[in-house]
Amino acid sequence: MSKNIKTPTNQKVLTNVAVVRMKKTGKRFEIACYKNKVVNWRNRTEKDIDEVLQTHTVFSNVSKGQLSKKEELIAAFGIEDQLEICKIILEKGDLQVSEKERQAASDQSLKEVSQLIASMVVNPETKRPVPPSVIDKALQEMHFSLKPNRSSKQQALEAIPKLRESLKIERAKMRIRVAIPTKEAKVIHPKLKTLFSDVEQDDWQDGSLELVGLIEPGSFRSLDDLIRNETKGSGRLEILSLKDVVEGEVQIS
């Protein structure tokens, strides 16, 4: 029989194998691991190496069953111990993310996004935090989908304006205090005021200015720049609280 003809087989091989690859000194090194275990090994929740590695040998190709040559290993890693090399590859190699691992990761980041949003917003009426479960539900209702290549914080910030259409929420504001000495106070006062969304205290004492109020967290940087540039370092900016919310447990009955 010609070697080009293959008989079909209903046997599926390598079903429980995840391959971790690493290229070093122009050679490919692979190890055979169990599925859904490599990520756990990397975040140190799995401590038993035998639960991760199928075998303590390094392959040049797992699916063909070809082992790496000893010289190549020494050339690439400088050691001979296969187990140690396996551990290096496990840590640094490229891995196939298995289905459950992907699932867990996306669950995790979805949770992270809703936690982040919950930590950034308040209920404008009561100034109380909004529970993450409510945010979760609202995100689901607006068919929010996670983009795996962007950071959770970015996605959270993008989702907030959309959430405001369906929920009564508001970015939690920062409470800050600004002190400006006499010389620049008059000039800078109107500019400062436009950045504040709520001024609680506006004191003029001997010509110097002290302002206490709430600002949107987004305008903190421009406020900081403004004060630094206009007063040449003599003005002071102090954060009184990062989030203006009513904290703690409250009994409402």
Partner: protein, 885 residues
């Protein structure tokens, strides 16, 4: 019907207080309160007497009827000339003990029902304690006596022995309670005992069967016998119940049991009664039954034996008659307050006491609001007791304040007479009565009066520890505000329910137990909120550190922890356990600690507290082997107590921060004014400590019984940035220091009492051990042959326990759960087998699961904290085919 309503209206407006009796039915669950109430209600022709005992008229809620248990207390006013009786039916299930308390506050006389077979149960005992504390009169009702004959086939003498034992049991229970109480106020125990003890001859014991609607006291039969045997009734009554017998010449002799003679009670009461039971319920012989009836001059209409039996008993020994006779003998709505304990306990020497004592319909009006009722529309309706004066529709009454003159008034928009499921509107109610009023502003436990100058009555209803906490939300986000409003309303109606808004903004319901939770959810559904998301019950834990006797002194010294931030901050501290005794003492003085923290505590009280605390600490701390305290000199501990920096925050009070820094003489918490100063940023250290106490390192639950000893604290006060970091630095250092000790979880425990038939005993133990309960005792009740198993069970494990128990035992066992105490789980949550022997015994993964670890991980998962969960447990056992294979 019209005329009855009319005469009721007249009666509530004009009856003198001497003729008013406020009665409350209390008993253990399923001892027949509601059925008993039925019979009394039938006396007023509200329901047919044939249905009495079967209808459960007072259970008006749908879920009460389907479950067959009462869930709320409800009242009915009954007129039986010359008396006017306000009857209140209360629930028996432990979860609703808040309702029972309010029922008891309303009433003066407690009818204590006891199932003749089951005897004194856990709730019975608790109730006796409560009633005696309130100084109320008690009448014992031995219910379900038909069961002795029909189910247990007891002979007359067996039944007599059984009942005598039962009454003895109740009396010994009373003596126990009294012992504790009398010790408190040093009265004469024997005198009080004789007043409270039950004796059928005294007429404060009634034998009844609510199902068959008959009841009798000793004098009923004494009367019958007296005419028949031609003896003087007065002579017969004292010997009706007891070790007396009658010889052939009708002389009464004692020592019946020694001479093996039938006692008078057996001969005159039980023997004829059992005969009728045999005829009616066992042999079903209508003919003979009618014959017997005709002897008693009663004609029976019913054709079937069981109905004929009911009819006969109903007309021969009517239940309402016996009950009302006993009630009539008990103190009236006015006389009750002359009992020594009654008012003192309720009001503690209050200026209103005089008025309440007089109970004068023409005096100043004083109304005490006890319980709010759900009602349609915006108005509020409440059950209240008129303590003095009269209430008229349209009256303007003052809501009394704690101190000073009241400024708030409310208008009585309507008054109604309670009639179980419905109510009859009326215009005037006289003093001593219980009625429902409608008004704009009504709150529980408030006093209304026509004179604003008095202070309000302090009648508090204590509620049990609320343990079952669920977070609740609606599926539709828009309904959240409505949910919040409805929850507020619900909490107003039900004192045992608390509503909290959690740190993360979620709404949480805190209920007394599982059944109570189900009732609350049902209530919410009835209020129009159908699609609710109710979380799994959240059970509180606490975290603590314990001593580790295996540690040697140098190892303990190494538990010190340091924190440095640049050159600006240095904190050095150690964490120490406080030991059981000290924690117990601190827990007991929780409210004092709170007031010390607020700076409001009384100097004298504070000095006492300090002294006692020092004594306890000096005694117990140096004996804690395996802690830093071990063999520390007395002087050191005394000075440490003196220099306590602060106590734990409100929710975690039993924690201490010690100032053991050389050269920092901080002002003392005990004596603010004395020497010492507060360094800058002191508040940040306290704040950090409080944060740590509120969320410990295991799973962010509260800490309990932890001491933090500050040994060094240096801070660069010029560094502006450090101020913001100090609090979190302090907290993190505390956590880190705690992790060096043996951390443990503290779990709330239920005392679980299971009553079971003997054949299901094995199954009961199986369920109990599955729930990690620890069995304390196992007794057999000889009369019933039922086993009573008492065990301690962690609250976390208790959910749907009752259901499971019922399923496993095919309904042969039933359980009652009641909060008992907090207990340290003696299992290290971080333990893994490490030595070779341990690995051999437990396997590498720890084949026996670590419960503490499990509890910790559930809490961590709920709170979104990282856990060491694996995506798949074992690599080889993965299903690696496609899903459709």
């Amino acid at each position: 019907m019209e005329s009855l309503e009319q005469s009721l209206r007249e009666a509530v407006a004009s009856k003198p207080a001497e003729h008013i009796r406020n009665v409350c039915l209390v008993a253990h669950v399923d001892h027949g309160k509601t059925s008993f109430a039925d019979s009394l209600v039938s006396a007023n022709a509200v329901i047919s007497s044939r249905m009495a005992g079967k209808l459960r008229y007072m259970d008006s809620r749908e879920d009460e009827q389907t479950r067959g248990i009462t869930m709320k207390s409800s009242g009915i006013t009954l007129l039986c000339d010359p008396l006017l009786i306000n009857l209140i039916d209360s629930p028996g299930h432990v979860d609703f003990s808040g309702e029972v308390t309010s029922a008891l506050i309303l009433s003066d006389i407690a009818l204590l029902l006891v199932d003749v077979i089951e005897g004194v149960c856990s709730q019975t005992e608790a109730l006796i304690r409560q009633v005696i504390r309130n100084g109320q009169a008690m009448i014992l009702l031995i219910n379900k006596i038909d069961r002795l004959r029909v189910e247990l086939k007891m002979s007359a003498s067996e039944a007599y022995q059984h009942m005598a034992r039962l009454i003895e049991g109740v009396n010994s229970c009373i003596s126990q309670v009294l012992g504790g109480l009398v010790l408190e106020d040093e009265g004469d125990i024997e005198e009080v005992e004789t007043r409270y003890h039950f004796d059928p001859c005294k007429g404060n014991v009634i034998f009844s069967s609510a199902l068959h609607s008959f009841a009798f006291g000793c004098e009923d039969f004494a009367g019958l016998a007296a005419t028949k045997l031609k003896i003087d009734k007065g002579q017969l009554i004292p010997s009706m119940f007891g070790d007396y017998w009658m010889d052939s010449s009708m002389n009464i002799r004692d020592n019946a049991s020694a001479k093996s003679k039938a006692t008078i009670f057996e001969r005159l009461v039980l023997e004829p009664l059992w005969k009728l039971h045999d005829l009616g319920l066992i042999d079903s012989d209508v003919g003979k039954l009618q014959e017997a009836a005709s002897k008693l001059k009663i004609t029976l209409k019913s054709r079937r034996a069981n109905e004929a039996f009911d009819e006969l008993m109903r007309s021969w020994l009517p239940l309402p008659k016996a009950a009302f006779r006993a009630v009539a003998r008990a103190p009236s709505a006015r006389a009750t307050f002359q009992t020594k304990h009654r008012l003192e306990h309720l009001t503690k020497g209050h200026p209103l006491k005089e008025l309440v004592l007089k109970c004068d319909p023409l005096g100043i009006t004083v109304v005490f609001v006890v319980k709010l009722l759900p009602v349609e529309g915006g108005r509020r309706r409440a059950i209240c007791r008129v303590l003095s004066g009269m209430v008229r529709k349209g009256d303007e009454l003052w809501v009394l304040q704690q101190q000073g003159t009241s400024t708030e008034s409310t208008k009585i928009e309507g008054i109604s007479i309670l009639r179980g499921r419905d109510s009859i509107p009326t215009d005037t109610v006289t003093s001593g009565m219980i009625c429902a009023i409608d008004a704009e502003t009504l709150l529980q436990n408030t006093t209304l009066s026509s004179d604003p100058t008095y202070g309000c009555l302090r009648i508090g209803s204590q509620t049990g520890e609320a343990l079952v906490r669920v977070s609740i939300s609606t599926q539709q986000l828009d309904d959240m505000d409505e949910l919040r409003e409805k929850l507020k309303l619900l909490a107003l109606l039900d004192t045992s329910l608390k509503i909290m808004e959690l740190e993360n903004g979620e709404l949480a319901m805190i209920t007394a137990g599982e059944v109570h939770l189900q009732k609350c959810i049902k209530d919410l559904n009835d209020l129009g909120l159908v699609d609710l998301d109710v979380s799994e019950p959240i059970v509180p834990f606490m975290e603590t550190v314990i001593e580790d006797p295996a540690l040697a002194a140098p190892q303990i010294l190494e538990q010190e922890t340091e924190c440095r931030i640049r050159e600006a901050l240095l904190i050095r501290m150690r964490v120490v356990p406080l030991g059981e005794e000290v924690v117990k003492f601190l827990d007991a003085n929780g409210s004092l600690i709170s007031s010390i923290r607020r700076g409001e505590a009384d100097t004298q009280e504070m000095a006492d507290f300090e002294k006692k605390l020092t004594v306890i600490c000096v005694e117990t701390l140096p004996t804690l082997k395996g802690t830093w305290w071990y063999r520390k000199p007395k002087e050191l501990i005394e000075s440490m107590i003196e220099r306590i920096w602060t106590f734990g925050p409100e929710r975690a009070r039993s924690n201490l921060l010690f100032n053991s820094i050389d050269g920092y003489d901080r002002e003392l918490i005990w004596r603010r004014t004395e020497y010492g100063s507060v360094r800058r940023f002191d508040q940040a250290i306290v704040g950090g400590f409080e944060l740590f106490c509120n969320s410990g390192p295991l799973c962010n639950e509260q800490m309990n019984g932890v001491g933090v000893v500050m040994e060094e604290w240096r801070v660069d006060e010029e560094d502006a940035a450090i101020a913001g970091q100090m609090m979190s630095a302090m907290r993190a250092t505390c956590s880190a220091a705690t992790k060096k000790l043996a951390l443990r979880l503290v779990a709330a425990m239920y005392k679980c009492t299971v009553t079971t038939a003997s054949q299901a005993l094995g199954k009961v133990h199986a369920v109990l051990s599955q729930r990690k309960a620890k069995v304390i005792s196992e007794d057999i009740n000889e009369a019933t042959n039922l086993f009573e198993v008492v065990s301690l069970m962690p609250v976390v494990e208790s959910f749907s326990f009752c259901d499971q128990l019922r399923k496993y035992t095919s309904g042969m066992a039933s359980a009652q759960l009641q909060f008992s105490h907090w207990q340290v789980i003696d299992e290290d949550p971080y333990w893994t087998p490490s030595t070779i022997e341990e690995i051999e015994e437990f396997g590498l993964k720890g084949d026996s699961p670590n419960h503490a670890r499990g509890y910790m991980d559930t809490v961590r998962r709920r709170k979104g904290l990282p856990t060491e969960d694996l995506i798949v447990e074992s690599a080889e056992k993965q299903r690696n085919l496609k899903k459709n294979k």
